[in-house]
């Protein structure tokens, strides 16, 4: 009698785990959906006027990361976002949204411009990660990501970052240090792709679904861990089913976040943003041999 009850309980738990595993994997697939709106799709709907700032003024123009001077509800803003391509030729041209160091140098240039004129910065994060190629490495990929993060730390203008698709690793974080960080309902944000994690920890990239379940790249988990400030609703079935509705939801959330970010006095914004990220993390303090979470 007792044994049967235990068995049923175990099965129920396994059933719940399986349901959650599927749910998380669904978010991964939706975040990568080929029809999901990209940065430029939202820019078209959110901004009344926009001018693309191209080139890093040093090497070339990286089309995996775009920067815009744009008008948002009557106010000039600087928009920075990863940009994937729709068809094969555009995808190749835009390197599937994976920037080289030039892309981050362009982002730094845009932050500098925003800073000089006091324009708020809106970023749109959607990348599998920074491009892991020999040329990218030789031109200082790591250092440029670090400098981009630093540029966002130093900005005294309001910064609102939104994860709109894949928030992959340092290549995503490079433009995601904001006073407010938002995530669309079906986007993902993680330190490594589920495939990469599976390849290392399970020694098999085919275990991506398991890896995703283990490390929970979902908006819900990020909100619970205090990494993001708000989840932005998407139309039922995902942003790609109704891009106009997705843009309306995003618009409402961005306006709110921007006005919240503008409440912070400019002189305190840098320290406040630093403090926001400083408290991220969970650790314990050893006390008489036991570890107590703080």
């Amino acid at each position: 009698m007792v044994r049967v009850t235990d068995e049923v309980r175990r099965l129920r738990r396994r059933f719940q785990e399986r349901a959650e595993e599927s749910h998380i994997w669904e978010a991964v697939q939706l975040a990568r959906h080929a029809d999901r709106p990209y940065t430029l799709d939202y820019a078209e709907r959110l901004f009344s006027d926009a001018f693309e700032l191209r080139g890093d003024r040093a090497f070339n123009d990286d089309e995996a990361l775009i920067t815009l001077l744009a008008r948002y509800h009557g106010q000039t803003v600087v928009a920075i976002g990863h940009q994937k391509g729709r068809d094969l030729s555009e995808r190749t041209r835009r390197m599937f949204g994976m920037p080289h160091p030039e892309g981050y140098r362009k982002a730094i240039r845009a932050v500098d411009l925003a800073q000089r004129f006091g324009y708020p910065i809106l970023t749109f994060v959607d990348t599998p990660g920074a491009y892991p190629g020999v040329n990218a490495e030789e031109r200082g990929q790591a250092g440029m990501i670090a400098r981009s993060i630093l540029a966002f730390c130093q900005a005294t203008v309001p910064v609102v970052a939104t994860i709109i698709g894949e928030g992959g690793s340092g290549g995503a974080l490079a433009i995601a240090v904001g006073d407010k960080v938002l995530m669309q309902e079906n986007s993902i944000y993680s330190v490594i792709s589920p495939e990469g994690c599976a390849a290392i920890l399970w020694k098999d990239s085919g275990q991506a679904k398991k890896a995703a379940y283990a490390f929970r790249p979902t908006a819900r988990a990020c909100l619970d861990l205090g990494v993001i400030d708000r989840i932005v609703e998407e139309p039922h079935g995902g942003a790609h089913t109704d891009p106009a509705a997705a843009a309306t939801f995003l618009d409402e959330a961005l306006r709110q976040a921007l006005s919240d970010a503008e409440q912070i006095p400019a002189a305190e914004r840098r320290a406040a943003r630093r403090a926001k990220f400083r408290q991220m993390g969970v650790w314990g303090v050893v006390d008489d041999g036991s570890t107590e979470a703080v």
């Binding site: 993060i149 730390c153 290392i200 650790w283």
Partner: protein, 315 residues
């Protein structure tokens, strides 16, 4: 497609099966007793290969004896995601602590180098591949806080495969958190010296490690965002033997200097001196070297005589 965070090329000696003894040189196969190797700063006397150095041993190599005081030593990782891969994260943490005697992959604190006080943040690759999680991030910030409070420079010595996957998004956020600490240092005008050792890759090289006011590296260290294996697997490109090595990084303008371990302490002492205010004198056991004329024991008149004699001989 994301660059894999932990990807460290195995040293040459590991190829072709058979486990290499940690004290056998992977380059030339010379073998050393533990005390010999420790005494030689873990540099191969035959070929100059730099072995890995643990955090406390590194601190011993660099600082004046008895001067180091640790901060944040009581911090430990907890398991926010209840992460289980082939083994639970908590098991891996316990094993790492038992194997290394460290609470996490970084030791933070303050000490003196040739008499000059400095904050230190030293990583240990033996603790879960030197991976960066919440505890490491907090310890780095504590070291930066110390530097700011006491107006002394910060020296970071890195060795890391990247961010710790078991803490996923919180590990990624440590990149922003540590760069925030660097921003804090910059706002307070505190010098920050970054020493990159083999290997420093992924999220660590792409955050605080790359941002030193001066960046130096040990010879042969692999310093890249994506490791060579990841580059080859994701892009199909071939990588050369010197891909991402300290020497290539120096040539490509990513570093200020490649410094052999034997010279590291004196180079750091020199930098601490150069970053110190003009009137400050070192307070420790080492007085500054006397000017050359005093050293030679010659007065100005003798020096002029010597000079004339030298010129006369040449003319």
């Amino acid at each position: 497609m994301t660059p894999v965070e932990i990807d460290v090329q195995r040293p040459k000696g590991d190829e072709g099966g058979g486990r290499r003894h940690p004290n056998t040189c992977p380059e030339c196969r010379s073998h050393y007793r533990e005390d010999e190797l420790r005494h030689a700063l873990r540099v191969c006397a035959q070929c100059g290969h730099h072995f890995s150095v643990g955090a406390y041993e590194r601190i011993e190599q660099l600082t004046d004896p008895g001067s180091f005081v640790e901060v944040g030593g009581d911090l430990r990782s907890v398991d926010p995601l209840a992460f289980v891969d082939l083994r639970p994260y908590t098991d891996r943490l316990l094993d790492a602590e038992l194997a290394t005697g460290l609470g996490d992959s970084m030791v933070a604190g303050q000490g003196r180098i040739v008499g000059r006080p400095t904050a230190l943040a030293v990583m240990d690759f033996a603790f879960m591949g030197g991976s960066m999680g919440s505890v490491m991030g907090e310890r780095f910030c504590l070291a930066a806080d110390l530097a700011i409070e006491q107006g002394m420079p910060l020296i970071a010595v890195t060795a890391s495969g990247g961010a710790r996957m078991q803490e996923n998004i919180l590990a990624l956020m440590q990149m922003a958190k540590t760069v925030g600490a660097v921003d804090d240092l910059r706002e307070h005008g505190i010098p920050y010296i970054s020493v990159l050792t083999h290997p420093t890759t992924g999220g660590v090289i792409a955050s605080f490690a790359a941002l030193g006011d001066v960046v130096i590296a040990e010879p042969g260290a692999l310093l890249s965002f994506a490791g060579p294996r990841v580059v080859e697997q994701t892009t199909g490109e071939k990588t050369s033997a010197d891909f991402g090595r300290a020497e290539s990084n120096l040539r490509l303008g990513q570093l200020d200097s490649v410094v052999p371990r034997r010279a590291l302490r004196s180079e750091l002492a020199k930098l601490l001196m150069l970053f110190s205010p003009a009137e400050e004198e070192p307070t420790g056991d080492h007085a500054p070297p006397p000017p050359p004329s005093e050293r030679a024991g010659l007065g100005p008149a003798e020096r002029v005589r010597n000079l004339l004699r030298l010129r006369g001989r040449r003319g």
